[in-house]
Each structure stands twice: as C-alpha cells, then as structure tokens.
C-alpha cells in the first residue's frame, strides 16, 4: 500500500471511530448533563444540550429518602453473595464436567444446565414468586434474590468454568499425582490458580447481572429489602418523573461496578497460563 493510501485509510478509520465514539458516548453525556439540570429544564419540550443552571443539589436530593442509600447496600449484598455462590458451584461443577465427562453426564448435562438460561424469564416470573412464597413464607428477603439469581448466573458460571478447566492441561494434574499429592491439594494448588483469571471474568459477569436485575427484584422485594433498580422508578413527584434525580442516582449506582472493574482488571491477565506445556 502506498503512503498516500495508507494515510487515507487511517483517516477514514479515525473518522469512523470518531462517529462511533459520539454515538456511544452521547447517551452517557446526556445522562450527566440531565443529572445537573433543574426540573423545569428537564421537562422542556425542546431539550438543551448544556444545563442553563447547574443544580448540584440533585446529588444531595437523591438521599432525602432514607431507603435510597440502603438500596445500594442491599444491591451490593445480593450481588456479592450471589456471585460467591455462583462461582463456588460453577467451579466445582465446571471441574467435574471438564475432567470427568463420563461420570458427570458430559455434554448432555452441560447443555441442560446452559438451557436453563434460554427460556424467557417472564415466563417463570409468577411461578417463581409463588414457589418462593410457599417455601420461605416471604419473598422480601436478601436470600430470596440471592437464590433466585443462581438460576441465571450458575449456568453461565458452570459453562464458562468448564471451558477454562478444559484448557488446563491434564498432565499438570497427573504430574502432581505422581509427585505424591492428593487430588484436593492438587486442585487447589495447581489447577485453581490457573483458572483464576477466568474466575474473575465469571465473577464480574455474575456480579453485573445481579447488580442490574430489575424484573424479578421488582416482583419479589420492595418493603424490607430494596435493590437500587427498584428505587430508580420511585423518583416521581405527582404526575411528573424527576429525570434529573433518576439520572443522578443511576450515575451514583454506576460507581461500584466501574470501581470493581478497574480493581479486578489487572488480575485478568492470561499470561500465567501461557507456556505451560511445550516449549
């Protein structure tokens, strides 16, 4: 490719990326500026793209309702507990499916587990509600959602962990057995560290799902326990929605996942498992 063509292609690429960036970032930009407008400006028919007055008080107004901060805590508890359980079961089941396919049912069981994610959640919303009500007496608890979200997160965790475990060479475990170590020790000291980056990726996916889930949360909880997606629609005053507060609160709710991503990203390096076998 000649120098001139190369530059042209680069230019076109940059233009494309620029347009793409604007398309992607505009909603986020609009969310930020909306969270800084006052109610009148938000509800104007012709939208403004820069706040006429900056209303920083929006960010204190969202805490007026005492349950709002607690909703973030509740969301955190539910998402974290569910992630830990999903990872725990996912790791054990994934290992069994990867290493002992015959004894554990193999592809068929793995496929069945995954198929649990395929039905539309709405279809089981009401049955689930009655099931939990009957079993636990109430659905308005942390535990209800922690268990319920396993239905969605565990298949994902099992399937992904199975794939990660398959990537770990069997010889490593065999070498450790021959070296004289018991299977449990081998699993924890040799195998598990190798799938660590995969586990973190799975944890992130599970946590984000549980953090953001609205449909079941709205149905199951709302009095004793509230997650933040249930709180967001409550920012209404009479007949109008206070979009500025909705935007401010959801911006705050974005902070924990973003922080989590930034912290965990560095542990996701696959480098460790490279160069394990062959030279």
């Amino acid at each position: 490719m000649s120098e001139k063509n190369y530059r042209l292609v680069r230019l076109l690429l940059l233009i494309f990326l620029g347009v793409w960036l604007v398309l992607i970032m505009f909603p986020f930009y609009f969310q930020i500026i909306t969270s800084l407008k006052d109610v009148a400006e938000v509800n104007r028919i012709e939208p403004t793209f820069w706040p006429e007055v900056f209303v920083l008080e929006n960010y204190s107004a969202i805490w007026n309702e005492p349950g709002n901060f607690k909703s973030l805590i509740d969301s955190f508890i539910i998402a974290t507990a569910n992630t830990i359980l999903s990872l725990f079961f996912g790791t054990l089941a994934g290992y069994a499916l990867a290493r002992f396919p015959r004894q554990s049912g193999g592809e068929n069981v793995a496929m069945w587990i995954l198929s649990n994610r395929m039905f539309p959640p709405v279809a089981v919303l009401l049955p689930m509600f009655f099931l939990f009500e009957e079993l636990f007496g109430t659905t308005d608890t942390h535990m209800a959602l922690i268990i319920l979200y396993l239905v969605f997160n565990m298949p994902l965790a099992v399937w992904l962990m199975m794939v990660f475990f398959r990537d770990v060479p069997r010889e490593l475990e065999e070498a450790a057995y021959v070296d004289g170590h018991k299977p449990f020790k081998v699993f924890f000291t040799i195998t598990l560290p190798l799938v660590g980056p995969g586990m973190i990726a799975v944890a992130m996916l599970c946590w984000i799902f549980a953090w953001n889930e609205y449909l079941f949360a709205n149905m199951f909880i709302g009095t004793d326990v509230k997650t933040f997606p249930v709180v967001i629609p409550s920012f209404t005053s009479g007949s109008q929605t206070l979009w500025n507060l909705v935007m401010a609160f959801s911006l705050v709710a974005m902070i924990p996942p973003v922080v989590l991503f930034v912290i965990l990203r560095r542990y996701m390096v696959r480098g460790l498992s490279l160069g394990v076998v062959k030279g």
Binding site: V178, G275, V276
Partner: protein
Amino acid sequence: MAEVRLARVNKVYEGRGQQVHAVRDLDLVVENGEFVSIVGPSGCGKSTTLRMIVGLEQATSGEILFDGAMVNELDPQARNVAMAFENYALYPNFSAEENIGFPLEARGIPKQERRRRVRALAELLQIENILHQHPNTLSGGQKQRVSLARALIREPAAFILDEVLGHVDGHLRFQMLFDLKRLHQSLDSTMIFVTHDQMEAIALSDRIAVLHQGRLVQCGTRDELYDTPATRFVADFVGEPPTNFFEVRFAEEGGQGVLHADDLTLQPTPEMAALMRSRGDGRYVVGIRPQNLLCTPRAGTISFDATIDIHEYLGERSILTLRRGRHSIQALASAEGAWAPGDEITLNYRPRDIMVFDAETEALVA
C-alpha cells in the same frame, strides 16, 4: 529401586459402543537398575503401558508388580514412581525451584532440607542459575531439565520417562542423551523410557521392548533386535536406514536352494535352505539390511548388479538407493566413492546376513 514386572496385562478402552484393545497380554520384566526402552510407532500402546505402570491408568486385567508386590490397586501417589512428561508438565505458577521441590513437599520434608536437596540436584543438572525463574520464561531444554530434576529429586521405585526428548532438537538432544545415560549410571536406578525413536532407545537402553498394535513383539538387547528380529516389523523398525524386503519364492537349482525375487536371485546359507526345504512352503519374505549390502566383495560374499537412482550424502557415509528390476534397494556406502545416478554397480552380501520371514505370519524363520 525396584524390579518392575508386568504379567499378562491388558488394557481395553470402552468408547461409545466400541472397544479399543490398546495393550494385549503384555509380559515384561524390568530388572532392578535396568534401563529398558519401550519403542513402537504411534498408537502401539507404549504410552498406555507407561501410564498403567505409573498408575494413571487402570489395567483391565493382569498384574503389575513392583519387587513382587502387586500395585494394581494403588494410586499414583502410593506407587512411588517418578515420571518425566513429554511436554514437561511444569507447574506454571511455581518457580523452577518450587517445581523441583514439589514431590518432597508431598513427603513432608521440611523447607530447609527441600532447599538443600534442590540446590544439590540443580548443580548436577546445571540449572542453578534458573531456579528462581517461572516455567514460561525457560527455554525448551531448560524446561526439560527442570522436569527431569523434579523426577530425580526423590528416590522412587522406578523412573518413567515419556518421550522426554520429543521436543528437544539437534545438538541439545545429544547432550540430553548423554545426561540421561550418565544419570542412569550414577544412580543405578530402574528406568523405563518410552520413545518412538529407535535411535534414542538404542543409544540408552540395556534392553529394548518393541510394541506393535498393542502386543510386545520382542524384548531384547540391541544386538538381539538387530541380528535376530522376531518379526518383519522389528527388522523394519530397528535400524537406520530401514531394511530392504523382497517377496521371494524358494526353489531348488542345481541341488541347492535359492530364493527368487522376480529377476533377482538370492542365495541363502545351506542351513536356511534345509530349514525351508523341510517346511515345504515356497513363499517367504527376505530382508537384508542396507549395512550388509557391500560395494566391495569380501570372502564368501555373493554379488548382484543394480543401478544407482539416488545418492544421499550423509557426511561419513552415503545412502545409495538402487534399482534392480522392479525392486528399490538401499545400501550404505563409503562417502568417498564416486557414486553417480545411472551407474551400474555390484552389490555384495553374505548369505548369513539374509533374514527369512514367513510370508503369512511375518515371523522370523531363519
């Protein structure tokens, strides 16, 4: 160190409705302190045999004995064998030192002692300077040494080496062969070495076991395999370049037995002829090693003519590929000769260098 004995060992893999008989009625004894190689082409069951000895695979039937004690039911942890893997199988999250010391950890040896023993062994294998490194920063040869060190660090009943030179190339391979031989001599340990490369086996072993399609075809010293191969397969597999084979008919001519391979006539010894005569069977396969086809006549040799097709120059010696009728024949010749394709030369052989195999069973007749 222990004697390893396999008695009528079978291994059958059950797949989806089909059975694969990987190892059939295997009898093999590896004496205490002996170096035995198991060789054979891919899929001959050599790795399966090894895995059964180590305990990573259960024998379907038969007995595996270490010093007379049956170990069939023992886990690999309890068998106390050391194994070096083809692809090294080093633990990537451990340093080289931790890798080598891992078997000692399993035996509850304190950290200080572990460290001391790892250092001592590292010196022997010349890897002291890489002990702190992780496997992904090591070269292939270094990985192989660390993997060998991990096998050598304890005093096992036997060392099992699975194609350990498979990924090592050229110059380093000679160095590793030398190291292995030296280690075996200094440790005086029972070693079982699996390889598909007969040259490695010949270089290292006291005895060589040849496996073919799950069966032990022959187990013996290099000379036994070379001079009296049990079957045509062994004659073909052991030796480089491979043996020349001819399908022949036994006939009587002028009162003595001869072997006709189309227009080429070979002359067996009178003893061979007598044996073939007594069997009354006319069809055989005859093998002559390229090393035994000489370009200069000697006392008692018989000659025939052939035309040079290809001349491969290998440094000290040359491989000549020759044509005689529809036969393609390989012979080793001195590199000094002026061999040119198209030249007709005379090849000489001694009748006792002829190997006669049954045409049906391919077993050695004479």
